[in-house]
Symmetry: C2
Subunit: 312 residues, 2 copies
């Protein structure tokens, strides 16, 4: 059995979209990731919260295939808070406020029992922090990371170092362009491959994703959701289901193998299909509401529908 570790943010979000709003609801990159990944594979979650983090939310995570022993609770601290508002077409959003709180000084300590994790996802965070996680894990088989414009602009050298040590990168289209200085995403994806990772996934929101490996560029659309209520967490859910599906289905590795032997191009493409499906569930309701209740059977059913749509 492979093992899957994610390190990233745990938050309380306040979200306003044209279709409603919620306040102080469970969120954060590692949370969306874990809930989606947990549909397919047990997840080891490492993150930090404050004293205000509710036991109910811990139980919610535990009930969804997530090992919460890596969640560090800071005495007297307060959980990371974010609030934002989406535009009318939901394609852009404005951050209204950010309180980093306990996340500001987060130095992830990977519990001893998690250090043998074979699949690792470094959710959005400073590349220095991401690197420190990598150093605590003992010979992982497949490491993927996310990043964002902030790190591309302020810690590019560290990010470039990180890229040499990972197998896959997931980024938004605008971030890929920023990172490579290319005018289009196809050129950007190709260029990121030259920086290290053997697989690059460029997320385009409602327009789907592009998968790059040494041989090909494969385009996949998003699953059509007529009533998007809240786009928050779509990208992290996408990455979660992708990694969860890989961890579950990758060929069982010999001791010294790295990703190239475990994750075939075909498996990776299917995993992206499941990522697409997970993202489509997440956006159907506010916060984690939908992704935290969807069943594995529903995910398979929607995947089959997606596969049928794309069958020419």
């Amino acid at each position: 059995m492979s093992s899957l570790l994610v390190v990233g943010s745990i938050a309380y979000d306040s979200i306003k979209t044209p279709l409603g709003e919620v306040s102080s609801t469970l969120g954060g990159s590692a949370v969306y990731f874990s809930l989606a990944a947990g549909l397919f594979h047990p997840v080891r979650l490492v993150g930090v919260v404050g004293e205000d983090f509710s036991q109910e939310d811990v139980e919610l995570l535990r009930g969804r295939n997530i090992d919460a022993r890596g969640i560090e609770r800071v005495p007297g601290g307060r959980t990371f808070r974010w609030s934002g508002e989406y535009s009318a077409d939901m394609n852009s959003r404005q951050t209204l406020s950010v309180e980093l709180n306990v996340f500001e000084d987060f130095q992830p300590k990977i519990p001893e029992s998690f250090r043998d994790s074979k699949f690792v996802f470094l959710a959005n965070g400073s590349p220095v922090t991401q690197m420190s996680v990598l150093e605590q894990v003992n010979k992982p088989h497949f490491v993927m990371a996310d990043t964002m414009d902030l790190w591309i602009q302020t810690q590019q050298a560290d990010l470039l170092k990180l890229l040499k040590g990972i197998d896959g990168l997931v980024v938004n289209d605008s971030e890929a362009i920023l990172l490579t200085d290319c005018h289009n995403v196809l050129g950007a994806g190709k260029k990121i491959l030259d920086l290290g990772p053997s697989r690059v996934v460029i997320k385009k929101g409602e327009h789907g994703a592009l998968l790059f490996d040494r041989d090909e560029v494969i385009p996949l659309p998003a699953y059509p959701v007529l009533a998007v209520r809240d786009p928050t967490g779509a990208g992290d859910s996408f990455a979660g289901a992708l990694m969860g599906y890989l961890a579950r289905n990758a060929r069982h590795p010999g001791s010294s193998e790295r990703e190239k032997d475990l994750v075939s191009p075909r498996l990776f493409k299917k995993a992206i299909g499941y990522g697409t499906v997970a993202a489509s569930f997440t956006v159907e309701h506010f916060g984690v509401k939908r992704i935290a209740e969807v069943s594995e059977a529903e995910a398979h059913e929607r995947f089959e529908k997606f596969r049928e749509y794309l069958s020419l």
Copy 2:
């Protein structure tokens, strides 16, 4: 054998993109349409040109499965001219000049021998003109139309009337939103179905297309082209291959059948796949250069590649 008619513009274009420029080169919606459709089926082209239209260009069309007898040449007239320049990422363009010339007073007269056409494409033009074409055709089986922001803004009532008389509409995402006042393309596509056509295709450029019918919304990505030289004509080539493929493969109709019995959802989706492939060829070179030389075998080969990309 079905028969395919297109009515639209024939032009000389001057185009500047970040990768080069051409001046006074063959273009126009009906031309791109016909060249792509001609890969799969003979095309009857109706349009207007001036005395400056070269015999060489007439021969080029004739050599690509296109019946040019419906091209009206106005004595002393000058062919429609357009010039434009694309942005660095080629996702937007600026019109530098337009000379409508003979196209300004174009009143399409469908030759007697074309009036039995069973598949009809009304390329972008005023809805009044499009309607006049429809009235000259004798019981077509499947009629599709394109339109643009200008007609949505200035002749909406006529456009709405046209929509009730056609089977399919092809529009850009921004035009679909303008036409329906919806905030997103999925809602817009659904709403256009309520206005008449039983099939709606929303083109999203590099992000592919969405196909709407009464039962489903099917998303398809664009075929990835790493070196786009000139996006001009991509949408018209898309529609051309779509209709050419339909005309070739639709079930042979009885005398009174309309599209619902001839064009199955599966056939329509495959036709969109071929439209996607044709658009990908067009953008590989300036003007019609690439689409006018590509072979049917190359189109099938790329379609198979596309199908493989999308096979999950």
